[in-house]
């Protein structure tokens, strides 16, 4: 459970996030949606503490990240996994070394135990025989999977994903979305996913927060989105003419 209360964030005088409050529940895949440049990444990075917020609080269980001393943050971070937009794999390390990295850093497992854990995670994201390849030798979709494997290797309580399917074809994107969802339920993780991909919203959006120009404008589920008459949300969701037609036929059917 993560509760975000009234956070604001500005960069050199320019306000990017305006007074945002939201709750994220465990075992659920929470989506943050919005146009490019609306502040999704800044919001996600603020929740993790990679950006310091100007005001507000971010409560994990019952401790506030904003006022937490650096030491305690480092401890909390060990319970977080993050999937970055560009995967952010360490390109000087092999796939196996990338996934093993958090284990090397924070556990006293034996080499055998580490290797077993690495292979378990690789298996979980449906990858095999890639242990000794470098990130540059993998396709975009495979890089994302390795990044997911690295993010879950320490059994995180919180999983953050910044546009997990940017740069992927629609089919691979769905597979990645599904993977994130399954892992979230399986390990009862509190997951937050940034996306501007409508397919993801419809597939996995059990809880959706819509951000517009740094304001939280709407909150609900994917079913409710279709029925919503919120102007900015509709402009965003039904941006293409094809989607507009779909919307009007849904409206007709329901009236």
């Amino acid at each position: 459970m993560i509760s975000v209360k009234n956070i604001s964030k500005s960069f050199s005088g320019e306000k990017v996030l305006h007074n945002i409050s939201v709750e994220f529940e465990p075992g659920k895949t929470n989506l943050i949606i919005g146009k490019s440049g609306s502040g999704k990444t800044v919001l996600l990075k603020s929740i993790i503490g990679l950006h310091e917020v100007d005001e507000g609080s971010i409560i994990y269980k019952d401790i506030d990240l904003v006022t937490m001393p650096q030491k305690q943050r480092s401890v909390l971070r060990k319970e977080m996994g993050m999937l970055f937009q560009g995967s952010a794999l360490f390109d000087s390390l092999t796939v196996e070394e990338n996934i093993r990295f958090p284990l090397d850093m924070f556990t006293s497992m034996s080499d055998k135990e580490k290797l077993d854990r690495v292979n378990f995670c690789l298996n979980r994201v449906n990858l095999n025989k890639v242990n000794h390849l470098f990130p540059a030798e993998l396709s975009g979709g495979m890089q994302k999977r390795v990044a997911i494997a690295r993010a879950i290797v320490l059994n995180p309580k919180y999983l953050f994903c910044d546009e997990p399917n940017s740069g992927l074809d629609p089919k691979t994107a769905l597979v990645i979305d599904k993977l994130i969802c399954d892992i979230t339920e399986e390990y009862h993780i509190t997951t937050i996913v940034n996306t501007h991909d409508m397919n993801s919203v419809m597939e996995i959006g059990e809880k959706v927060i819509f951000i517009h120009q740094g304001h939280k404008c709407w909150e609900g589920s994917n079913d409710e989105i279709l029925k919503s008459d919120h102007k900015e949300l509709n402009d965003f969701i039904f941006a293409s003419s094809f989607a507009k037609k779909m919307k009007s036929s849904i409206d007709q059917a329901s009236s």
């Binding site: 990075k45 993790i48 990679l50 943050r73 480092s74 401890v75 909390l76 971070r77 060990k78 977080m80 996994g81 993050m82 970055f84 937009q85 560009g86 952010a88 794999l89 360490f90 390109d91 990295f101 958090p102 090397d104 850093m105 924070f106 953050f160």
Partner: protein
Amino acid sequence: MKMLSELGRYFILMQRVFSRPEKWKMYYRQIIREIDSLGINSIGIVIIISIFMGAVVTLQTRYNLENPLIPLYLIGLTARDTMLLEFSSTIVGLILAGKVGSNIASEIGHMRITEQIDALEVMGINSACYLILPKVIAAVIFNPLLTLLSMFVGVFGGWLASVTTGALSSADYIYGIQYWFVPFYVSYSLIKTVVFAIIITTVPAYYGYHVKGGALEVGHSSTKGVVASSVLILLFNVILTQLLLA
């Protein structure tokens, strides 16, 4: 004003760099890697430039010494002291600032823009310390060895030039390089090298660590890092010389 705030940011970063590592074993592994990539990889270029510089200093001194009253072995002494005092620390420092500095700034800058640094931070790792400290330690350990190597090779280059061109005899040169030897010159040079090693690693790392934007900005940061560290080396050369030799 801008310089002051940059200086402030530099020292804030250094405070994070020089803190206690999470796990020494991982840092030890990084230090070995950095010694290989920053140190061992620079041996070739140090040998080449030192040989040529030793040779050219010897030849130039010979052509400038018209006066028959001055003994020729002083050429050997001049070549030796040039290498010991200035060349093997300062000039090698400048060359490494170009080679190692641009490498460090672009590596760290690339990690910044591809969010690899954020990835370290999310894991709860002090990224400044993990990425920069091993480089500083590697350079502080290994650069003095490069300086010593450069001294030997440079003096050898002078000898090679003497005997192959007949500028002076091997015996004169060898007598010259042993004549009035001041051991402190070596310590002086090594002290400078250690200070330069810290500059060469931390200054480009600072520019790389604070990159914003894309590949173009990474390129800019690497240029800035090399220029700033070169200027700082020259500045500290003057300061240290005044402190140590005056």
